[in-house]
Structure formats: C-alpha cells, structure tokens
C-alpha cells in the first residue's frame, strides 16, 4: 500500500512538473478526446453510448468521446484517485451515495446552461443533485426499486403471490418457497450484509430513516428502525426467508424466489428463462412507499476540456437522446415518464408494471440514504450493524451502538 501511495504521489509530482491536469480550455482548437467514466460495461449500454457519440461527431468532427467503464465496486475510489493523479475524467457518472460529496465539494461545473428544457426535469429526481439552486449533475438514471418474483419457483412450492402485498405476507411466502425448494427466499440485491443502504428498501416500510432530513440526527436508535430491523432479523434467522450472511444467491440465475432490485436489472432476465413478474415494494406498517436509486452525470472542473464536455452533456441529455437512454435508465424528464414511452423502451415490462413500479415509484420515491462524507459514515454503519447479523442479537442495543458510532460523523 505504501508503495501504491508513493506511486501516486510520484505521478502527482511528475504531473505538476509537466503542468498537466489544468482546468482551462487551452486545447479547444484542434481535435480533442473527451473521457466519460461509467460503471456499465454492459455491451448493449456501451453500444448505445457509442452511437450517441458517433452522432455527435457528425456535427462536431473534432470531438471524440470515449466511454471508460470502471468496476462499480471501487468506482468512486477510482475516479477520485484519477483526479488526485491529475488524470481527471471530463465527464463522470456519480453514484447517489457520493452525490452530496461531489455536489458540495465544488468539483463539478454547474450544468444549468447545458440541459435542454430543464423545466421538464422532475423535482424529486433533481433534489439530490442541486447546490444553491444550481444543477451540478444530471440524474440520467432514476430507477425505482421493485420486487422481481420467480413465478416458476413459487408454483413449484405451491405458493401464490399474496394479493395483500405486505411485508408480513411477502416474507411468509419467501420463507415457504425457501423451505420447500431448497433455494433462497428473498434477496435484497447488492446488500450482502455490507452495503446496508440497500436496506432502505425494507426499513422505509416502517417509516424508518437512517438519519434526519437535515442529516444531523441519527435515526437508527429510533422506534421505527428498531421495529423494522427486529422484523428483518426475525425474517433472516427465524423464518429463513432471506439468505444468511455469507450465502450467495443470484435471483437472475434462478437461485431465489424474489429479489429487491432496480428495474434497470430487467436486462438481466433472459427471454426464454424462468417465468417472472415485477411488483412494487410490499407495504409496511406505515403503508406504501417507494425507494429510488440514482445515477448522476457531471462535468469535472479538473477535466482538460470542461466547456467541450458541457457541450456534449447537452447533447447526451437532450430529449431525443434521453428517450433512447430510457430503455436502460428511467429518465428524469416528466414528459417521458409515461407508460407509453417507457413501454417502447422496456418491451419486457407490462404497462401496469411500468405504471405501478416505475412511474408511481419515481413520483413518490425517496432516494436511498446519502450524506456528505458518506463513505466514512457507511463504513461506520456497516461495522456497527455487523453484530446484528447473527442469531439472538440484541437489536436495540446494536442499533444504539450504530448511533454512537456515526453521531460524531453526522455532525462533521
């Protein structure tokens, strides 16, 4: 590690000697190459991005856009290390978890002049990406969480999908399917007992929040969270409705009855695979709710061609291209959030699924938890929650411990 750090330090030094990594547009004459970092290497996505870039090149022959797909696990780390090394991308996707850090840090160029018809953007979608009323990043993907159900596995276990779609009933069904089929019941995708922010798709059903809206007060030790986590703990260790810690199960490989995932995961389903359906998140004791995950698109001040990058962002996010991107990434444009537009782009989803999960989800959805300094807070919460993930854990005491650990960080 010390060697790695040294390598970067040296690179940074050599870079400053060679005067690279400047933020001005000295290179706007002559051909330029813009680099956009993404976390998707999905060939269908890449093909679409490349076709948008190719179309842009016909009107801007000097500009080539390269899409640089980075692994999502270390995405933010990789981007910030590139920035530190003087090799900042011109345009970067930003995960919602690190949105407050990027938006508040001043690392991004305001995009207000780079978005066509900005009034069309849904306020719920842009809230996270604004600083002092200025749009710092464009939420190109606003993807609600829903529950994918493997109807074949349910049939095999003799279980019908509960019509009264509550957490109580969902967990009971998952538990029965797991017991009868030997597969797993319900998987909260990408949670894996590490990325607890995905649990917001569960605890919001109890009206629980990780922290208050102003980000200053810890919510883990409050009653709604205690109730939600007690329910979840029981579902895992008594009902065996969710896979135990360290057990890997992929819904899309047919290994579980249900999964909570973003609707953009529909692309992982095969046309001739198992039978499936998509339903909204189950209702909790505090009623119906929905949760959305977002991806933003920002222009970095430290990129070499910031104004050319902003130009391209304008094109990439235009209504026409937004409609094309809608087949993978639900758009923030209200005019495009109709079952008709989305149906064209998502042939696998039925109109009522789109209406129930996507359109209503985006309208009422709350974005997954985020905070400035989120990496450190998330790490502290994760470490604090670890004692919860074993049978017989003292739920209120563990949650109190989480608050003790993160309260100083929330105050920063």
């Amino acid at each position: 590690m010390r060697r790695l750090l040294s390598g970067i330090a040296t690179a940074a030094l050599l870079c400053s000697l060679a005067a690279c990594g400047g933020g001005d547009d000295a290179g706007s004459d002559g051909p330029i190459t813009l680099r956009m970092t993404t976390w998707s290497a999905n060939p269908a996505h890449v093909q679409l991005f490349d076709s948008i870039a190719a179309e842009y090149k016909t009107s801007h022959p000097d500009v080539t856009v390269k899409f640089d797909a980075l692994p999502i696990d270390n995405y933010t780390t990789t981007v910030t290390t590139q920035i530190a090394g003087g090799n900042a991308p011109d345009i970067a996707w930003i995960l919602e978890g690190s949105a407050p850090d990027f938006v508040a840090s001043g690392a991004l160029e305001p995009l207000d002049d780079s978005i066509e018809n900005a009034a069309d953007l849904a306020p719920a979608a842009t809230a996270l990406w604004k600083q002092d009323g200025k749009l710092m990043a464009y939420p190109f993907s606003t993807s609600p969480f829903g529950v994918f159900v493997n109807t074949d596995l349910l049939k095999q276990a003799g279980v019908t999908l509960p019509t009264d779609w509550t957490w109580e009933n969902a967990v009971a069904a998952a538990s029965t399917v797991a017991a009868k089929t030997g597969k797993q019941g319900l998987v909260v995708r990408d949670f894996d007992y590490k990325d607890w922010t995905n649990l917001a798709t569960v605890f919001r059903g109890w009206g629980a929040e990780a922290w208050s809206a102003d980000g200053k007060t810890c919510g883990f030790d409050q009653q709604p969270m205690v109730d939600a986590m007690t329910f979840l703990h029981k579902a895992i260790f008594t009902g065996k409705a969710l896979p135990a810690p360290g057990v890997a199960a992929d819904f899309f490989a047919g290994e579980s009855a249900m999964t909570i995932a973003q609707i953009s995961r529909t692309s992982l389903l095969e046309e001739d695979g198992f039978g499936w359906t998509l339903v909204p998140l189950p209702a909790g004791p505090s009623g119906e709710y929905s949760v959305i995950g977002q991806g933003g698109l920002g222009v970095l001040k430290k990129g070499k061609n910031a104004s050319a990058a902003a130009e391209f962002v304008k094109f990439f996010t235009s209504p026409a291209n937004s409609e094309k991107l809608a087949q993978f990434f639900p758009p923030p444009r209200q005019s495009q959030l109709t079952a008709q537009t989305l149906a064209k782009a998502n042939p696998l989803l039925k109109p009522e699924q789109l209406q129930n999960v996507v359109i209503d989800g985006i309208a009422d959805g709350v974005v997954k938890p985020s905070h400035t300094g989120s990496a450190e807070i998330n790490q502290a919460v994760r470490a604090g929650l670890d004692p919860l993930w074993k049978p017989g854990a003292d739920v209120p005491a563990v949650l109190k411990g989480v608050c003790t650990a993160i309260t100083p960080l929330l105050a920063k």
């Binding site: 750090l5 360290g246 990496a375 994760r382």
Partner: protein
C-alpha cells in the same frame, strides 16, 4: 595537441578513477530508480502528512501536526493496531513453526519427499488474488469447508462473518499461501548443516530432541532471522487478503493498518491523514526490523 595535456589527462584518469566512474555509470539506473520511486515518495508522504488534502474539494492546506494529533485521538487506532498485531504475531508464529516442521519432515531420506515439497511449495506460485478468492468461496457459510465439516457432523461457524473466526481465517489462508517459501529456505539451511556434527552427537548418545535443539537450531538460526524479518514485514503489508475476504469486518476486527490507511485515503478522500498513517506504518516496520537485527547478536549463531 601537446604531449603535456595528454599527460595531465592520463594522470587524472587513473585506473581507480576510471573504475569509480564505471561503477557509478552502472549503478545510475538503480540509483535513479530508488531515488524517484523510494526516497522521493517517502519524503513526499511525510510532507503530505502535514497537510489536509481533499481530492474532491481540491484543497491542500498545511495543517502542521494536526493529522498526528488526529492520529493520537482517533478512537479506531487502538483497535486497528490490535488487529495488526494479532495478524502479524499469528502469521509469524504459525508460518515459521509450520515451515520448520515441514522442512524437518521433508528433510528425511524417504521416497516421495520431492512430491510433498512440490505440493507444499506450489501455493507460493499461485496468484495471490486467485488464491484468496477461492478461499473466500470455501469459507462461506455454505461453502466447501463447512460442507466437509457437515459430513462428520460438525456445524461449522460462519468463518469470515463472525468476530471470533474472521481474523484467524485470514491468518490461516495466508499461512497456507506462503509457508512453502519459508519451508524451502529452511530446507536449504537444514541441508547445509554438516553431517559429521550429527554423527558426533549420536556417538555421544544425544537424543534426537537434544540434537535438534543444540545443533540444528543454532546452525539454522541465521535463516530463522531472515525468514522472520521477511514474514513480519510482509505481514504488516497485508492488504489484498483483507480487501477480498472481509473488507475489514465484521465490525473492525480485521481492519489492519494498511487497510485502514486505504480506507482513509482512497475511500474517505483524506489523503493527508492516510499519509500520516503510512508514516506510522513506516516507523513500526523500521522499529521491528531494528529490533530483530539487534536480537540477532543474542541468538544467531555465526560460524566465523
């Protein structure tokens, strides 16, 4: 051209000076490499540790000893140092003991020892990441290890997810990975012990244990010193194993110093504080190496 100046030049370029010049020319690439990639970064890391450096916000402010004060007050540091010590001590003790045991066993003149030597050495040449990832699967709650235990009626723990077993599992995975290297070094040392000493001892009626303690151990002590230094320094640099197997959890039970440094610098964007932690790591490695080097005077046997 007068003969005088040629004479002076000849006198200046004496054989000694020529040799020196040649030597410097030869070591220049290596010297340049160590300056640019070892000494310069070392100095820079100390310099960075005196700054608050947030990459995202693009701030680089001199804060003096602030990061060192933060280090002294950081509530995580005691736990991190405990985890580091646990890993290093566990690894060094297990690794050296097992390596020595294997070396002694495989130093017998029996059929098939070559096969076993190859078997125990082969993990050393396996890619560290591949090795660790496969062990990660084996140690899952429903993984291979527990499946094996299940057949003999034992309900194995969730190795990597419970506080009591996570660090021990990481240590054992690392011991199996590298024990072969120390084993080979010990084997070479054992075979360097003169046979006539053994014969003389046996003639005098010494028991095998006495022979091992009084002859073998002293004669291979330089190798024990070497392997212990290599293993201690290596153990303090453990990163990939932690990153793949536990990400520092559960809780902070496997957050060793290098992993904590990585979290601070690369995940929490606090490069200045990360540099401070790496200064601490440097001092620990330095202190341990000096200590071991001093101890060699007490217990390492030298023939000459």
């Amino acid at each position: 051209m007068s003969g005088g100046s040629a004479l002076i030049r000849r006198r200046y370029w004496t054989t000694r000076r020529r040799d020196q010049l040649t030597a410097y020319v030869f070591i220049t690439p290596a010297l340049f490499g160590s300056l640019v990639f070892v000494f310069l970064p070392l100095v820079l890391v100390v310099w960075y540790s005196l700054h608050e450096w947030n990459v995202l916000a693009d701030t680089f402010n001199f804060v003096g000893a602030e990061n060192y004060r933060k280090l002294a007050d950081d509530p995580n540091v005691p736990a991190v140092l405990r985890a580091t010590a646990f890993f290093s001590i566990g690894l060094v003790v297990l690794n050296l003991a097992l390596a020595l045991l294997l070396a002694v066993l495989l130093n017998q003149k029996l059929r098939g020892t070559t096969v076993f030597r190859v078997l125990f050495f082969s993990p050393v040449v396996v890619s560290l990441l591949a090795w660790t990832i496969v062990w990660g699967f084996l140690l899952q709650d429903n993984g291979g290890i527990n499946g094996l235990l299940d057949t003999i009626g034992i309900d194995g723990p969730n190795w990597l997810r419970s506080g009591g077993t996570a660090m021990a599992s990481v240590v054992v995975v690392q011991v199996f990975k590298n024990v072969g290297l120390n084993m080979v070094l010990f084997l070479a040392a054992l075979q360097g012990v003169p046979q006539d000493l053994y014969e003389a001892a046996r003639t005098d009626g010494a028991s095998p244990w006495t022979i091992f303690r009084r002859i073998t151990l002293p004669l291979i002590s330089p190798t024990i010193l070497l392997t212990s230094i290599i293993t201690v320094v290596g153990s303090l640099q453990v990163f990939a194993q932690i990153s793949v197997l536990t990400q520092g959890g559960p809780g902070t039970s496997t957050t060793v110093l290098v992993y904590y440094l990585y979290q601070q610098a690369f995940q929490f964007h606090a490069f200045g504080y990360g540099a401070t932690l790496s200064v601490l790591l440097f001092l620990i490695v330095l202190a341990l190496t000096v200590l071991q080097w001093q101890m060699r005077k007490r217990w390492v046997f030298h023939e000459h």
